[in-house]
Point group: C2
Chain length 354, copies 2
């Protein structure tokens, strides 16, 4: 597999026209896909700025929330883009969080067999995680993200200043992924988080400006080594096999993804401690448990959670695989974990949260 | 752009299980997508053979014809594949002509962000052209192939013996693409066609076994140099800007794609002669005109045809580009052709056919 580069600019939102041109786009038309929440805040500013810079923008605004990652909404983007008469050179800007990035990214991947895609993430989770790495897709009634494509964005414009207006719950949920990046691949980042969690909860501007690119860079490095998730990239799923089970059993939307990941990482740390007795799981857990998780999680059925884990997308030939840590900053994948231990990990988390 | 290889096996259909295993597939389940016509002839044989070789095949049979390249049929494949519980390692075999290859290929490209795809082309046009090069997709009411992806098949199994049972009209239509490959990039192939057209019309076995891989190889070489159609690959559209206009104005299905391409090549040869006066267009036309084209084509409105050409997918910033020849075996792309000349080319073809 050849090395790839991931073209992220950490820069103010108003540099978008320059970022698109720097991506080699000569077209004048420009699709901008966003959701209602983001449109209220940034829709006009982005479109006016594009118009001032020799683009003809066309805004497509979708309802917010995971429900928009559907075949119907995808078809709506297709209809509007194709009725407008886009060409292969017409760029599509995905302006929003993970839902917009995944859905609009998949539309860009599949319109005319691929048009230039620019990700402009507006949430913390999108800035450090979902906008990076080319995963796009929609949900199916059989599960989340079951239809999609790997598609490289032509550019990613990440402006940490956009995060000031994020609702508190989305902010703290995003911090779960930041912590995850430290835990799996960057012990220096994790050590910095240990001293900066208060500043991060307060969204201290200079700390945010420093940590976001650091956390994003962990994802960049991993994706560059394993674009199509055939090996190393799996470690990004630390806590996620548990998290997906929580989201499915509780019902999507009851917990944020970050909340589920935080609880899932606590379970995975518990298993990691058993797999590598010398591992300082308590040190890791001390930071992870600062992410608030609604207590209702303690009453989910453990039997149901385990059942769902068996059907996770990362299943290979029927056996559940888990990402574990053997030290802070280093993760590994194993298929060798007993159901009993997984059950104990769930019990640990439920007791800790309840 | 790095060099790619295209894994075609020219071998009997019953080697399919070995071809799939050679592609690195360890899964036991195997999706087979085909259409009703092909299912009658090969469905049982393929599935029984897979079952005898430690696969668990699941056959999905779609209605034949271009109408199946729709979002609805795609959703049907998604539903059935996901309800069955496929994993990322589950292969999908696209057994059929261009429609099946495009539709099932796009399903494989987008299920779980991509599962291993095996193309088993059963028509001449699919064997020498559409199964090679990774273009997959479906139609939209705004036009053909407007939704899709570039997706590399893990393997292509091409068995020229399957062509014996092809209806005559599909066979002769496929010959149009064979001739095209000689004209644009292989003068030796073209010279051979000049002496072998009768044998090809008769489907002489040894001639077919020799010519199919030769014609396929032209496509392979071009795609290897330009996988994503940013340059050289455009020459494969020789005759196609005209052909797409014919298909659209006449209504899809009135002419086969190959018939439209044959007529389109005659128009493109006429333009080529004007662009390069020394070019022996008559020698080329002598072979192209052996492909039967229904005479109704002579009564299509030239104004309508030209209007449609302006909206072809290969339009760049509003100007129509054409692929032309300057000698047999060498094509080039130009944006520099007057509407008047295009009109004359249409008039020439209509007179010649009418």
């Amino acid at each position: 597999m050849q090395a790839i580069t991931i073209p992220i600019s950490f820069a103010p939102l108003d540099t978008l026209p320059a970022v698109i041109r720097a991506g080699g786009v000569e077209a004048d038309r420009c699709l901008v896909v966003t959701d209602e929440h983001v449109a209220v805040r940034y829709g006009d500013a982005v479109c006016n700025n594009l118009a001032r810079n020799e683009f003809e923008p066309r805004l497509i605004v979708l309802p917010p929330g995971e429900e928009s990652k559907s075949q119907d909404r995808l078809a709506e983007i297709y209809d509007r883009a194709l009725a407008w008469g886009i060409e292969r050179s017409t760029p599509l800007v995905a302006l929003g969080g993970g839902v917009v990035g995944d859905l609009a990214g998949f539309a860009a991947a599949t319109l005319l067999r691929g048009i230039p895609l620019f990700q402009v993430p507006t949430t913390l989770i999108a800035q450090v995680d979902s906008s990076i790495g080319g995963k796009t897709g929609i949900d199916h009634e059989a599960g989340k993200n079951l239809i999609g494509a790997f598609y490289r964005p032509t550019g990613i414009l990440t402006d940490p200043a956009l995060l000031k207006s994020l609702p508190t719950r989305e902010w703290t949920s995003g911090l779960a992924e930041v912590i995850k990046h430290g835990l799996i691949a960057d012990d220096t980042l994790f050590t910095e988080l240990e001293t900066q969690m208060d500043a991060l909860f307060d969204r201290n501007e200079s700390v945010v400006e420093r940590i976001v690119p650091r956390a994003a860079d962990v994802k960049v490095r991993i994706v560059c080594e394993d674009e199509f998730e055939t090996g190393l990239r799996t470690i990004l799923n630390f806590g996620h096999t548990f998290a997906h089970a929580i989201e499915k059993v509780a019902g999507y939307g009851v917990y944020t993804h970050g909340e589920a990941v935080a609880a899932g990482m606590r379970a995975a740390l518990h298993v990691s401690k058993h797999a590598t007795p010398g591992f300082d799981a308590e040190r890791a857990d001390r930071i992870v448990r600062r992410i608030p998780v609604p207590p209702g999680l303690a009453s989910l059925s453990i039997a149901d959670l385990i059942e769902v884990m068996k059907f996770d997308k990362k299943v290979r030939r029927g056996s559940v695989r888990l990402v574990l840590l053997d030290r802070i900053g280093h993760a590994f994948v194993t298929g060798d974990i007993s159901s009993t231990l997984v059950e104990k990990a769930w019990a640990f988390v439920q007791e800790a949260i309840g």
